[in-house]
Subunit: 213 residues, 2 copies
């Protein structure tokens, strides 16, 4: 989750292989046994989960440097698919666990990784449960800017579809569109089909933490 790369994590590189996947590639499905963990080298991934009646939930959008599949116990409780063409590094789960038994520093890193994900998930509970549609979209845009922004107001890619964003924020496509349109009309952001540019970060931050009134 953090940008720092702990040394112990480098141990994993011995057992990693690099693979190249096309758009919409399914790394694993919800419920699959956890055979591999991954780290994103390029592109964008989405982790997904759905209820019996079809309601879908997008968990995260791992991007360059992010790991996914590490939070499985024995089976994956989220599936993972490529949002865009992507390059990832893949580590066999059994070997990861094995190495963790022998290298306490690695075990510690893995635990901290899990705890970091846990904290992020708790933050998401606040976001999804307590915030309005505008606050959620604003938070999402700021989050994306923080993660992909080269720093300082450039235009950035939004590789995922509106539906993915909606399912990530627990909103409908229509609501996401409406909020984005509103942000555009107020000159807070500029929007292309797959790009977005933050014009007034101050206003966006105000919206992201805004109260309901």
């Amino acid at each position: 989750v953090t940008g720092l790369e702990p040394d112990a994590m480098l141990l994993l590189e011995q057992i990693g292989t690099t693979i190249d996947v096309p758009r919409d590639y399914e790394f694993y499905a919800e419920g699959d046994p956890a055979e591999y963990c991954y780290r994103v080298l390029n592109g964008c991934i989405r982790t997904v989960r759905s209820m019996e009646d079809g309601r879908r939930q997008v968990g995260q959008f791992p991007m360059r440097g992010d790991r996914f599949g590490f939070d499985a116990l024995d089976t994956h409780c989220y599936g993972a698919e490529a949002v865009s063409n992507a390059v990832v590094r893949r580590y066999p789960r059994a070997m990861v666990d094995n190495m963790a038994e022998n290298y306490p520093a690695l075990a510690r890193c893995l635990r901290e990784l899990a705890l970091g994900h846990l904290r992020a998930t708790h933050d998401r509970i606040m976001l999804l449960g307590r915030k309005s549609a505008s606050e959620r979209v604003a938070s999402f845009v700021l989050d994306m800017e923080l993660r992909c922004g080269k720093g300082g107001g450039g235009r950035l890619e939004l590789p995922m579809a509106r539906l993915d964003i909606a399912d990530h924020l627990n909103l409908t496509v229509e609501t996401v569109c409406r909020v984005l349109t509103m942000l555009k009309k107020e000159h807070i952001v500029a929007i292309g089909r797959t790009t977005i540019e933050v014009r007034d970060r101050r206003a966006l931050q105000a919206l992201a933490c805004d109260t309901r009134h």
Copy 2:
């Protein structure tokens, strides 16, 4: 999270002390440095978090056998308070980490604990984000019955106030009341001020997974 007690966790008992606390005792506040982890021997705890504007979120209700405070990195992102008089076992965090460095089996247990919490939190995201008020309350009652029920239809204690339940389910007190009243009128549960009895588990399960229509 599971009922099983892995052997490696028993190692912690060497560094644990038992403490007795009154109702509303604050174990630690949100943002405090993580000095201790806890396991509940008796009573009920709540973990809480709040936003600047006062919106409050109750994370979990740890009860007999459950651990809390283990999911902190360096500081606690949730506070913890006693819902009722309680008895807990307390472990110094630094010593836990220290032992984990020396006992890989313990490190593994701790990681699995974190991953179990992570999965539970993801389930909560589905619950809070995608379910209606009735579904949430029904799920909550079933969950409480599973965790405190001596098995088979007895009356069980609901030590926490309606407000705690509401903040746990992202609802208002009024909505929780209305749903409970509805469940009572349909003879699905019997309700006392601090007790509840499941009369028709089938109906409750149907409600818990119900679709919106």
